[in-house]
Amino acid sequence: MEFDWTEEDLSYRSELQDFLAEELPGRWEGATAVLGSADNAEYSRRFAGLLAEKGWLTPHWPTEWGGTAATPWMLAVLGEELWSRGEPRGPQYMNVNWIGPSIMAHGTPEQCQRYLPPIAAGDVIWCQGFSEPEAGTDLASLRTRAVLDGDDYVVNGSKIWTSYGDIADHCYLLVRTDAQAERHRGISVLLMAMDSPGLVVRPIPGMVGEHSFTELFLTDVRVPVANRLGPENEGWSVVREALSFERVGAPRWARAAYVLDETVRGALEQGRSIDPVAVEAVGVAKTACEAARMLCYRVIDERARDLPPSPHANVARVAMVQAERLVADACAALEGNEIMRYGSDSDLQMRKSLAAGVAAGTYEVQLNLVSRRHLRLPKN
């Protein structure tokens, strides 16, 4: 056991930091305000392109697909540095971390040829069509139906809370292809073009920054069978595997720690006095970020050893949500009535911390998994 970085990781980090200092000078606009907005997504096309040129967009991919076979620790450093600068990759974060790898693992050679190079070049935006009005946490109850007709599936149904639905080029879509089968068995993954006839995208104004969700209405949308990812009716295991590529998911703790740091520095620069209650809140929040960091590192260490996914990933995710929330409390304590000013750190962090416990697997679901898999508490 030891907690040193290797020389290689250290120099990778400092190279990245130099690059980011140049490309995202000062307090980059998109850093805290607009992750998830259309502007941020457009920005990501430029930024991800720059990363791609450096070989830093998909470093963990195999060389065959433009990667450099970077280690999990290097990937962690990359994620940390980018998230702590507000994630300039925007929605492309998920392309490179799990959509691309999922296509690599289950795609036909044609699918790989068609979808992977644009992801690796950084100029394509994907959205994730999982949730439905009646299928949230209980995702396997999804009902959007795909019926085979010649060489196409004909898709009918609707998706909701689809981030980037209004700007995406493609959708990683979960549909039901067998209505009779046991519910986990009848699901398939389709790679759907967002300009498909019959698809209507309606924006849903969101309360998190400028983040807008969309709702997708699908009426007789034809998706070629050639766009199905993996075997028919095996979509549940395809998607579970896809999400496990990430294990801990986004290093939210790094962004939370950045917001906290910015807020404290802001208060100090403006010469505002920081009362003992705020100091306490700041110390507790910083601690939560640090704890989440170590719990994420434990998971990265497992990945670096090629161990199978473990419930330590769920532990880390719980800790990250807690860190987001405590940072929100600390920002509010630091800024006082600045929270009334739209776009202040405390206003934004309050909104983001709300999303942290809901998006990408709720807090309660993570707790369910920690208690069953980590503590091995009995099922009913």
């Binding site: 030891e2 907690f3 640090e290 503590l375």
Partner: protein
Amino acid sequence: MDFTLDSHQEAVLEAVGTLLSRHSGPARLHDLGGDEPGYDHDLDKRLAEAGFLDVAEPLSTCRLDAALVLEALSGSLASSAAGWRLLVLPTLDVDVEGPVAVVTESHSGPARFAADADALVVIGDDRVRLVRPDRPIPRVRSRLGWPVGEVTGLSEGGALDGAPAAAVRSWARVAVATEMVGAMQFALDITVRHVSDRRQFDRAIGSFQAVQHGLAECSVAVDGARWLALEAAFTGSASTAAAALTQASEASKLIFRRTHQYHGAMGFTREYDLHLATLRLLALRSEAESFGRPAAACAHEHWGI
């Protein structure tokens, strides 16, 4: 980065584990007086003979090993001040045979191990003193699972030249955090066992989601404290030490309330082991506070506020 034990650490922990399974543990603590125990000189002697109290010396890089040993000691509910010896004394160039207690210059009142200590390490703002009591320090009746003495009117003298007060305080934080982790894990483990066995309404109470979520949060909190404490022991970073202690202190509040709550009346009985660990946490938390509010220290270390 390596989150697994290397072969040396494994060997040390295995040997310590064997020793502790024979000479420490809740049964031993009950023998020593349970929640009102005497000091376990016998255990200290065995640990010293086996060389486990010197793992940190002289190289500071071995403090991680010392923290791992301390976690094991604390997890076995040892009634020993070995934590101070393992993590604090290596920063000071002193020679003390028996137990030491660690207090701050302004300390007045109960302190763990003070009545049994050969010497007190006294941490001031910018100096550290080693005080060898000229008369016995009186015992305090305490029922928080530790032998406690009453420290009043510390005598003058004993200043240690060049001893870095900030570093000593920081290592004291790491020691307390590590001890908390051992005790918290003990309390959590027996609670998980209890709720898995105990049945009400024809089902294990550990299958109720309210109980599951409560314990899951405890476990996340303790894991976070553990890894921060180990990281702090490895790096010697003052800011990580403060974070480790903050996390441990916050976690101990959850552990204290929830592990008792999920035991129902069983947790109240003195024959049962839970209280041996949970009450200790209260003493450790008060000690943690005596080195300065942990969260404030964390904010200070990071931003100078």
